[in-house]
């Protein structure tokens, strides 16, 4: 019978993500924030072409110049390095340290949470109790404890931030999945005889990944602040790499000499962090995620 029917050309409705994009475009503030982030990202990628000077080269003769000094549009730091160039280069590590842990945690946390939510029962209980243990630490404390114990360095910083963000993402993934698992279409797919893996991949994933993703994007802002905070404490990125948090740390002693130069790196962290927050809020509206 199937052979008698030729593939029918049919009207295809705009997909779910097309609708999300349509709704997102209406969120003016979020679109603006997205543009700001894109600019920062481009700045990070093309840093060698944009930055006027070498970010690691400085001369003690020209240390701590004020903003607007000829040749130093944003002043110079405590080792006489060009602030503008360092801020441009700093976007690389700062973005990397802020975004990557959330992304890794998004994958690991989703797998843990979806597995716990879909399998349920005793497995769910054990997993969620372990997650509860990590929830007993305020996130700042956990990040500092882990990287403090492991020692400074980019890798250690990445690992500790990832560990910090896995539990909250797993918890959200678990609760969303638990809600979806009981719906009839998942039951219908199970009643088809499909394996649990197939059911999760085809039926559950598409319906839970949106809310989990929105939640993860809201964590990037926190992650930016925490990552720079680690460098600020002397953990995470080590000198002489340009990174906003670390720059803030090394310029701390200069607040009585060149206060506004010293405060500049923090402004960049602030702008990036708030842009991620606004973007995440817009995504939340566009995906119609209820809190």
């Amino acid at each position: 019978m199937a052979a008698t029917v030729l593939p029918v050309p049919f009207e295809r409705s705009p997909g779910y993500w097309a609708n999300v994009w349509r709704r997102f475009r209406r969120e003016k503030l979020a679109v603006f924030a997205g543009c700001v982030l894109l600019a920062i990202l481009l700045m990070a990628i093309f840093a060698p072409y944009i930055a006027p000077k070498d970010p690691t080269f400085g001369t003690m003769l020209r240390r701590l110049r004020p903003i607007g000094t000829p040749g130093f549009p944003l002043g110079s730091d405590e080792l006489g390095r060009d602030m503008l160039s360092r801020l441009i280069y700093g976007a690389r590590l700062s973005l990397f340290m802020g975004v990557v842990p959330v992304f890794i945690a998004f994958f690991i946390g989703s797998v843990i949470g979806i597995a716990a939510g879909y399998i349920g029962g005793a497995f769910n209980m054990v997993v969620m109790r372990i997650i509860d243990v990590f929830f007993a630490f305020p996130s700042v404390l956990l990040a500092i404890a882990l990287s403090g114990a492991m020692g400074a360095g980019i890798t250690n910083g990445l690992i500790s931030l990832t560990v910090v963000f896995i539990p909250p993402i797993a918890r959200i993934a678990e609760s969303v999945t638990t809600g979806v698992r009981k719906l009839d279409y998942v039951e219908a797919a199970r009643a088809s005889g499909a394996s649990a893996f197939t059911v999760v991949r085809t039926q559950v994933l598409g319906n839970v990944i949106g809310p989990i993703f929105v939640y993860a994007t809201s964590l990037i802002s926190v992650s930016m602040i925490l990552a720079s905070g680690l460098s600020f404490l002397g953990l995470g990125v080590r000198p002489p790499e340009p990174e906003w948090g670390l720059m803030l740390n090394t310029l701390r002693t200069a607040i009585y000499v060149q206060p506004w130069v010293a405060a500049l790196p923090g402004l960049f962290i602030f702008i990036t962090s708030i842009a991620f927050n606004l973007l995440s809020d817009g995504l939340r509206t566009a995906l119609d995620v209820k809190d």
Partner: protein
């Protein structure tokens, strides 16, 4: 008369849900006896209606039969082969499929109609192209133009259209038995009639056997050949639909039917309607579970569970009245 070989045989099916709360130290956790020992056969080609008040275990029975929730006890035999033993659950599910009540919740909001229908056959190894063509042809069969509907998302369809997709989805497995769990209950009356007619046509075309679960007695009478009445997780009466509707033997069935509005004044019974709510299935009453609401209840009803007895061809009822020697003052009477 011996009935023909059943296509589906349900034997002693039981499901008790443990309540998670209130289990305090040594105290035993309360148990909901959602389905408590149900036995019946489904004959090839028939439509067996299952009726009862909400909470009587109809939907749990449906989910047990399709093995979405695992039974605590009992056996399910498809064409004589025990599911889970001689017949693998996956193979079984190709033959027995289900149409869910909530047409919206039962369709994945992120998939287009074609992919929803093609999913099942692909799970069972059909190549994607073939499965998609099957989806187009089934859409035509359920009265939806594939050119217009195959690429739509569920939220772009009306309730009736969604339920047609649900039916097509179930048919894609080429099943022999279709469980319809309140499949038309959520629809408007006019749409309901269309879908019922569609079901009747499809049944003839695909040689289907239906298990039609509903709380709507009129619809069940219209579509069923036989009907089973459930009360608090048990089967109280089962028999040919005309016989049960014309001569209900269990007091519960009679009360249920008397509550049914009739357009014909002559058919209105004088039976008083049911009073009160069904008792709590957590602690079902001992003996006959209906005795707390039964007009004819006597001492024996509160202590001894009635055994189903035959009256007429394939008409069983579980009541002490009509069971000779049961100890009820009206035992053996034809009711």
């Amino acid at each position: 008369m011996r009935s023909p070989e059943p296509i589906l045989s349900i034997q002693g099916l039981k499901k008790h849900f443990k309540l998670p709360t209130k289990g305090f130290f040594g105290r035993e956790k309360p148990v909901v006896r959602a389905v408590d020992g149900i036995t019946f056969d489904v004959i090839p080609g028939e439509t067996l209606g299952i009726v009862g008040e909400s909470g009587c275990g109809k939907s749990t029975t449906a989910r047990l039969i399709i093995d979405l929730i695992h039974r605590d006890a009992g056996a399910i035999l498809f064409e004589g082969k025990a599911m889970g033993e001689a017949l693998s659950p996956k193979e079984y599910r190709r033959h027995v499929q289900m149409v869910f009540q909530d047409s919206f919740a039962s369709l994945n909001p992120r998939m287009i109609v074609r992919d929803i229908i093609a999913f099942g056959p692909m799970v069972h190894g059909m190549p994607q192209k073939e499965a998609e063509e099957l989806a187009y042809s089934l859409l035509t069969k359920v009265g939806l133009d594939p050119a217009r509907f195959a690429g739509r998302y569920p939220h772009e369809l009306s309730g009736g259209q969604r339920q047609r997709v649900n039916i097509a989805r179930a048919l894609a497995f080429r099943p022999k038995v279709l469980i319809l769990d309140e499949a038309v209950s959520a629809l408007d009356k006019s749409v309901e009639a269309q879908v019922l007619n569609l079901l009747t046509d499809l049944k003839a075309e695909f040689n289907l056997t239906y298990l039609f679960i509903s709380h709507d007695l009129n619809v069940v009478r219209y579509i069923s050949d036989r009907v089973m009445v459930m009360y608090l997780g048990e089967c109280v009466e089962i028999g040919p639909v005309d016989e049960v509707y014309a001569h209900p033997r269990h007091p519960y069935t009679r009360a249920l039917l008397s509550a049914m509005p009739s357009m014909d004044p002559d058919k209105r019974t004088m039976e008083p309607p049911l009073a009160g709510d069904p008792p709590n299935p957590i602690n079902p009453p001992p003996g006959c579970r209906f005795h707390t609401r039964c007009r004819f209840a006597e001492d024996v009803c509160g202590t001894v569970s009635p055994v189903p007895t035959v009256r007429g061809s394939m008409h069983f009822a579980a009541c002490h009245i009509g069971t000779p020697g049961s100890g009820h003052s009206r035992a053996g009477e034809t009711t």
